[in-house]
């Protein structure tokens, strides 16, 4: 059986969620592997939520919100961008596979872009395979040196 990756998408209410809605109303088909979690703003997406997604068995993550200068709250996505830049560097330093996290901007009018983002992400994760390296750690107990 082909590997079907679990993808979690953290999206903002005002742009990407509306964009994903448009994908549906526009009757565009995309991979069903993604579970969308709606946030008020990308600025609200705590880095710990991304880590928790991996800890709960996600193979890939999509983080998406309004394009710069389009934030409903003026600057939420600017703050989020800085946080992601730093967080991505930290994840890389800790050896977490940053290829598994897709950061992107999708506006409320970009229904087609959303479908494309999900499809390419699913294809990419299918290529890399399940995140067993992380999932193995979940069950690993603390042991004495």
């Amino acid at each position: 059986m082909e590997f079907e990756p679990k993808i979690v998408a953290f999206v903002c209410n005002w742009c990407t969620y509306a964009g994903a809605d448009l994908t549906g109303t526009g009757r565009m088909k995309y991979a069903p592997n993604v579970k969308i979690i709606r946030f008020p703003c990308t600025g609200r997406i705590d880095f710990m939520l991304l880590v928790k997604a991996f800890s709960n068995g996600a193979d890939g993550i999509i983080v998406s919100g309004c394009h710069p200068n389009d934030c409903h709250y003026t600057s939420g996505n600017f703050h989020a961008r800085r946080r992601w830049i730093v967080f991505r560097a930290l994840l890389d330093f800790m050896g977490i596979d940053i290829e598994r996290i897709t950061f992107t901007w999708v506006s409320a009018a970009e229904g087609a872009k959303w479908a494309e983002i999900v499809n390419t992400t699913v294809d990419k994760i299918k290529g890399i395979g399940p995140y067993t390296a992380y999932q193995e750690m979940i069950n690993e107990a603390w042991e004495e040196e």
Partner: protein, 267 residues
């Protein structure tokens, strides 16, 4: 050392300060923090290259700050810690005397924060060689190798939170790690839970860490945990060109932004 004892003795004698926060000889030839409250204690104060701990944390610990106005023996780490705490409005109104000690052992008495700012303006913060070597080594590894490295280290963690207690900038009275609704970090020690905890601490220190390495120094199982916040601090320096704990006018890089911040991974 004589000069330090002389100055500290005078300060206590004149009743200007109630306690001198410094170092003394501890067990097994180690250096331990020391609080001189009486004239007799002065002889126990020491200084020197082995006194590398960051003492800034004691400026806000309640049992010490309740004693009254302190004088604090401060190496470069402590100085930057004090400055950053002042910037974050934790000790900016506190009266204290800072006894700044440089690498050569010269002591300078600083009475207030603007004196401290002047003193720090001539100091170039530098990471010690050992840490830099370790960082370079880790940077050369592939992500997979780094994961194996950190996994091995995280296995050792006993969740004692000494890293948090010793950090001058971990001053929150209620830490996320103690939250249980929702529970972000599992209470028991487990590899992923430990990884999450240290990742979270590093992120919460991003743009604030003064690179003293105190968290790594106090770790009872010798995890080089200070490398995480220090790595972020270096990243911040290259991205935004800022250092922490240097000037009173600095901000936190994570609480501000530029509309044209550069990245190459958001599509």
């Amino acid at each position: 050392m004589e000069k330090l004892r002389e100055i500290a003795g005078e300060l206590l004698k004149s009743n200007d300060v109630k306690v001198v926060i410094g170092y003394t000889k501890g067990m097994n030839n180690k250096v331990t923090p020391f609080f001189a409250k009486k004239q007799e204690d002065i002889a126990k104060l020491i200084c020197g290259n082995s006194c590398a701990q960051n003492l800034a944390v004691y400026l806000y610990k309640k049992d010490i700050s309740d004693l009254g106005k302190p004088a604090i023996v401060a190496n470069i780490h402590t100085l930057r810690g004090i400055m950053r705490l002042a910037v974050e409005k934790q000790i900016d109104k506190k009266e204290m005397i800072i006894l700044a000690i440089d690498n050569a052992g010269d002591i300078q008495k600083l009475d207030n924060l603007s004196d401290l700012e002047n003193y720090l303006s001539s100091v170039i913060p530098q990471l010690n060689e050992e840490d830099q070597q370790m960082l370079d080594e880790l940077n050369r590894m592939t992500p997979g190798e780094r994961m194996v490295f950190w996994k091995q280290e995280m296995k050792k963690c006993i969740k004692c939170y000494a890293c948090r207690q010793a950090c001058p900038l971990c001053y929150c009275t209620r830490c996320t790690v103690e939250e249980n609704q929702p529970q972000w970090i599992p209470v028991a020690s487990s590899v992923v839970g430990n990884l999450e905890w240290h990742m979270m601490r590093a992120m919460h220190l991003s743009g604030r860490c003064v690179e003293c390495g105190q968290c790594g120094k106090v770790c009872p199982v010798n995890i080089p945990i200070h490398l995480l916040p220090v790595r972020i601090a270096q990243e911040m320096k290259t991205l935004y060109g800022t250092s922490t704990g240097i000037s009173l006018s600095e901000k936190c890089d994570m609480s501000t932004f530029k509309p044209d911040d550069k990245e190459n991974f958001i599509g």
